[in-house]
């Protein structure tokens, strides 16, 4: 099977970098501002003349004072201690679709033609950006089979929330708002599929999976009623298992008068193969910072593209983008809209990147993305399950997985005492990003959910598998090595889950300076 991947003798950057406040040297300046024109000073006099009594800041903020090179160096060092996707084989963060974010797209959004646009400019002057929003909506309609989109939600979670809002508005519009108070979702779905409808006031019913990896039709039928507002489904689930009877789920909910929502956060294996329309759902959301290549940016900014069928289009957030045959315009005349979920029109940079990414690939390229993502995952799965000790697949009797898979390290834990937290720390020693275990609750013990997107070569996947083979071997032969990891990271092990009392919370340097524990709180809780 080709050349064997060599394990790297990696060591993370270790700058021992202080907190920025510790680098402060009073009197230093990182940037200067223009001097206020003398004429203006003469005209208005002291600044006190312009500020109401009692409102002038008495004590200057205790911000650090540094010269420019020192600020730059500090944050460059911190960046070096961060394993971004550009730098590493970022297969571990499954459900996050860590793929290559093309650099050309970064040039587009950093172009002053985008960065210096004010959202309230006359649309005569924003025809370019509106055209991209409009054309991207047409692409998304084709990709999903939905009829209208909003790009206003600021992330996948907000996209799900916005769909819950549309669901509520739809039932209220039909006079059934008070009756349809329940939302159904699956326990394996992203927690937001439960939390967002709850935030919108729905009671949430979480369905457990059967041995198939998804809930049974009977379980669904048992909870569907005249109170059902709708269902939030993820397909494939975070486990990589596709629910082939999703249409039956949808029909059952529709028959009861509810709406069906597809969470397309795990869409990467479906481009050009399957979509929301054929599943019969009414709404969906895509995370443009996942399958559509917009970079994740240390957790945003992001975009949850919200797609709906025609009969729900009137409820989408205001404004939407229209085209009258000559000009693109913002349509605020939307009396049935849910309103606004984010200021202005959303994270348009994510829309531009996604637009350029779809254009660069075209219809065949998008399908290739999905097929290679599936191929990569199945190849990695085969090697993982056959070659790595102590690992197993969840729902083993369901053999097929699409773009990702949920494994369990339970056997390894039973055999060696080494836990997923230990393995995760040890993985960092080999230059990997930490992996994603599972959303809560953990239905599978010692879960592990990697996702080898289309951006990784066979050699990358081979290296990745070899690392876990090695770590598993270490767990069986020298478990302490794994338990005491990391050994080649920026810092060594720290007990980072000890805060249970809000009184101990130290999320600012000033709180740390006040509350810093005198006795060591760094001992193991055991």
């Amino acid at each position: 099977m080709g050349r064997k991947a060599k394990l790297r003798n990696f060591h993370a950057a270790k700058w021992d970098e202080p907190i920025i406040f510790e680098l402060s040297e009073p009197g230093q300046r990182g940037i200067l501002y223009p001097k206020v024109d003398e004429e203006l000073k003469d005209e208005f006099g002291e600044i006190e003349n312009l500020i109401p009594e009692g409102m002038k800041r008495e004590k200057a903020p205790a911000l650090p004072e540094l010269a420019q090179p020192q600020v730059l160096r500090h944050y460059l060092r911190l960046s070096q201690q961060t394993l971004g996707q550009d730098l590493v084989i970022d297969i571990g963060l499954g459900t996050c679709t860590m793929k290559y974010s093309p650099k050309i797209n970064e040039q587009f959004v950093r172009n002053p033609k985008v960065s210096e646009l004010h959202p309230l400019q006359d649309t005569e002057t924003t025809q370019g950006i509106l055209r991209i929003m409009y054309e991207f909506e047409q692409m998304m309609k084709a990709i999903s089979g939905m009829d209208a989109f909003s790009f206003q939600p600021g992330g996948g979670a907000m996209g799900i929330y916005a769909n819950a809002s549309v669901m509520k508005k739809y039932h209220e519009d039909r006079g059934e708002g008070d009756q349809r108070t329940e939302v159904i979702t699956t326990i394996l779905s992203h927690p937001i599929n439960a939390a967002a409808p709850k935030t919108k006031g729905f009671k949430v019913i979480n369905l457990m999976p059967t041995e198939t990896g998804f809930p049974s039709i009977e379980a669904l039928k048992a909870v569907v009623s005249e109170r059902t507002a709708g269902i939030f489904l993820t397909n494939p689930e975070d486990t990589g298992i596709f629910n082939p009877v999703v249409k039956e789920f949808v029909d059952i909910v529709h028959e009861a008068g509810g709406l069906c929502v597809y969470d397309m956060a795990d869409y990467n294996g479906l481009f050009g193969i399957a979509r929301a329309k054929e599943a019969g759902v009414d709404m969906c959301q895509f995370n443009l910072h996942k399958a559509f290549s917009s970079p994740h940016g240390c957790m945003g900014p992001a975009c949850g593209a919200q797609g709906v069928k025609q009969e729900l289009a009137r409820f989408l957030p205001v404004p939407t983008v229209g085209f009258d045959g000559e000009k693109y315009y913002l349509d605020y005349d939307r009396p049935d809209s849910i309103g606004k979920v984010r200021k202005f029109y959303g994270v348009i940079a994510a829309v531009i990147r996604a637009y350029a990414w779809v254009l660069a690939l075209g219809p065949d390229g998008l399908k290739e993305v999905a097929e290679v993502a599936i191929l990569n995952n199945n190849y990695m799965m085969k090697r993982m399950l056959e070659e790595v000790r102590g690992i197993s697949l969840s729902w083993e009797n369901v053999p097929e997985r699409l773009e990702q898979a949920r494994y369990s390290w339970q056997k390894l834990k039973e055999d060696t005492g080494v836990t997923i937290a230990d393995i995760n720390r040890r993985a960092v020693d080999y230059g990997l990003q930490s992996f994603f275990p599972s959303h809560h609750p953990f239905i599978i013990p010692e879960p592990y959910t990697p996702e080898p997107t289309e951006s990784y070569s066979k050699a990358d996947i081979d290296e990745y598998v070899e690392i876990f083979k090695k770590i598993a071997e270490e767990a069986y032969t020298n478990p302490e090595l794994v338990k005491s990891a990391p050994h080649r990271s920026t810092i060594s092990k720290v007990y980072d889950n000890l805060v249970t009392d809000p009184k101990d919370l130290m999320v600012t340097w000033r709180a740390y300076c006040k509350k810093r524990p005198m006795e060591s709180k760094t001992e193991s809780p055991n």
């Binding site: 080709g2 970098e17 907190i19 990182g30 500020i51 200057a60 903020p61 911000l63 600020v71 460059l76 201690q81 961060t82 971004g84 550009d86 860590m98 040039q107 950093r110 002053p112 210096e116 004010h118 309230l120 400019q121 025809q127 047409q138 600021g154 996948g156 907000m158 929330y161 439960a194 006031g201 949430v204 399957a274 054929e278 940016g297 957790m299 945003g300 606004k340 984010r342 200021k343 202005f344 348009i348 660069a360 690939l361 075209g362 219809p363 998008l366 191929l375 199945n378 699409l402 289309e454 951006s455 990271s489 920026t490 810092i491 060594s492 720290v494 809000p502 919370l505 999320v507 000033r510």
Partner: protein, 463 residues
């Protein structure tokens, strides 16, 4: 069957590689690997989207040709603000937020993303100094969502459902507030006609033991500096309501932070701190509270906490996760998702660069220039500056009623002169007549302001 598909973004497109991988799997085709998707759920035929522009050169030409149809604030003189602000972005802010490591990291943990986590802790710490507060959360989607969560927090803490907000709150922000806090009742407190300051009698008449929170903006949406914060806070606290202040962080080098006049929760828009407007891409939501358990446990957002080990090494990790929907699904506090981490890091760089003196100079530049603009426009025949009895910070309201022209007409004529006039308020606040909200930042020059004055004089007085 398997064939070559060579694309720069997809390294495993080569037929030979695919064949090797399929052989290892034991499958003949890739289609076999997704046979679990039944026919009735499949897409028929190819996707109906444009054919690929697969060369980077042609893609660049195509996209840039479209983007070049835009005219930007770098080309015209801009007086628009109203929630998104045209501030100067120091070069180092862009240098850091374009670093591959930060740009393409995501939710990695204590060790793999130590630098990110430290930068996020530093964001909270620097913001903590600017706000003079100990508890600052990971920022949320935008200022509107920060206000939404602040209001929901007040509801959870007090169990009450009434909020009191100024009648001058922007309609955009209000749409967000209504949408998210749909189950609450909104009462609007009147403002004084001459000063725009909150009418305290009206506040007293509306507040009750049903009031969850009193919200003010400082500076207000219409630009004036609120001078009654302390009294408003006392009125709110007398009724055991939560006092929320929505603040402009660019003002805090010269204006008193809200905690010092009684705020319990402080929120606001992050974008002014080193983040480009990007047609609204740059929005982020600041949210901070008093260091009390009831507030802390009601945040839905991440907290980045500092830890030390026995070697004195520091790590940073999310704390009190049991609050969140990530841990508790529908039993968590609101919902949590991907927000604006890159903007948090950018704001940290910005505050580190500016320091106390830079924040002062920023505020000083804005307040002098903005007041100059207010004076210059006030001298144009046919224009009136509304709320003359208040000081303003960076925005102010110009009324055009005496000119007999609409803001739409005036702004079109300004556009011909390469000026983006102020935001039209005539539909947002009909009682203000033909009025516009003008914004002046440190980027606006004295000459820009004088040119605006001359242009308006020409337009209105046919000079």
């Amino acid at each position: 069957m398997v064939k070559d598909f060579i694309h720069p973004y997809i390294p495993n497109g080569i037929k030979q590689t695919k064949d090797e991988m399929l052989k290892r799997i034991g499958s003949k085709t890739i289609e076999d690997l997704y046979s679990c998707i039944p026919e009735h759920l499949r897409i028929e035929g190819r996707l109906d989207i444009p054919e690929a522009i697969s060369s980077e050169l042609e893609l660049k030409q195509h996209v840039e040709a479209i983007l070049n149809e835009n005219i930007t604030c770098a080309e015209y003189t801009n007086f628009l603000g109203a929630g998104c602000y045209d501030h100067y972005v120091p070069a180092i802010c862009d240098e850091i937020n374009s670093r591959s490591e930060f740009l393409t990291a995501y939710s990695g943990d204590t060790y793999s993303d130590l630098g990110k986590n430290q930068a996020l802790f530093e964001y909270g710490s620097l913001m903590g100094e600017l706000l003079d507060m100990d508890v600052v959360a990971f920022p949320t989607y935008d200022g509107g969502q920060a206000l939404n969560t602040s209001i929901r927090m007040s509801h959870r803490i007090t169990g009450r459902k009434q909020m009191i907000v100024p009648e001058t709150m922007s309609k955009g922000l209000l749409m967000q507030v209504r949408e998210y806090n749909y189950f609450m009742e909104i009462d609007f407190v009147a403002v004084d006609e001459k000063s725009g300051q909150i009418n305290l009698q009206d506040l007293e008449s509306k507040i009750s033991d049903q009031t969850a929170c009193v919200v003010i903006e400082n500076p207000s949406y219409l630009g004036h500096i609120d001078r009654q914060g302390e009294v408003i806070g006392k009125i709110a606290h007398k009724h055991e309501a939560v006092f929320i202040v929505y603040v402009d962080p660019s003002s805090l080098g010269i204006l008193e932070p809200p905690i010092n006049y009684g705020a319990d929760i402080v929120c606001g828009e992050l974008q002014p701190l080193g983040i480009h407007m990007g047609y609204g891409t740059g929005m982020g939501g600041i949210i901070a509270s008093k260091d009390e358990d009831a507030f802390i446990m009601n945040f839905p957002n991440h907290f980045y906490h500092i830890y030390e080990n026995e070697k004195g090494e520091r790590g940073f990790a999310r704390a009190l996760n049991e609050r969140t929907s990530y841990a508790k699904r529908d039993d968590g506090v609101e919902f949590l998702g991907t927000n604006v981490g890159l903007w948090a890091i950018t704001a940290a760089v910005y505050l580190s660069l500016l320091g106390p003196k830079g924040m002062y100079e920023l505020g000083e530049n804005i307040i002098y220039k903005s007041n100059y603009a207010r004076r210059v426009l006030g001298q144009v025949k046919g224009l009136k500056i509304l709320y003359p009895d208040s000081n303003s910070f960076k925005e102010f309201v110009v009324n055009f009623d005496d000119s007999k022209k609409t803001v739409t007409q005036i702004n079109k004529q300004l556009l011909e002169r390469k000026i983006f006039g102020g935001k039209d308020l005539s539909r947002e606040f009909p009682w203000l007549g033909q009025s516009a909200l003008y914004c002046v930042t440190e980027k606006t020059s004295k000459q820009d302001i004088e040119r605006l004055g001359e242009a308006l004089d020409e337009i209105i007085n046919n000079k």
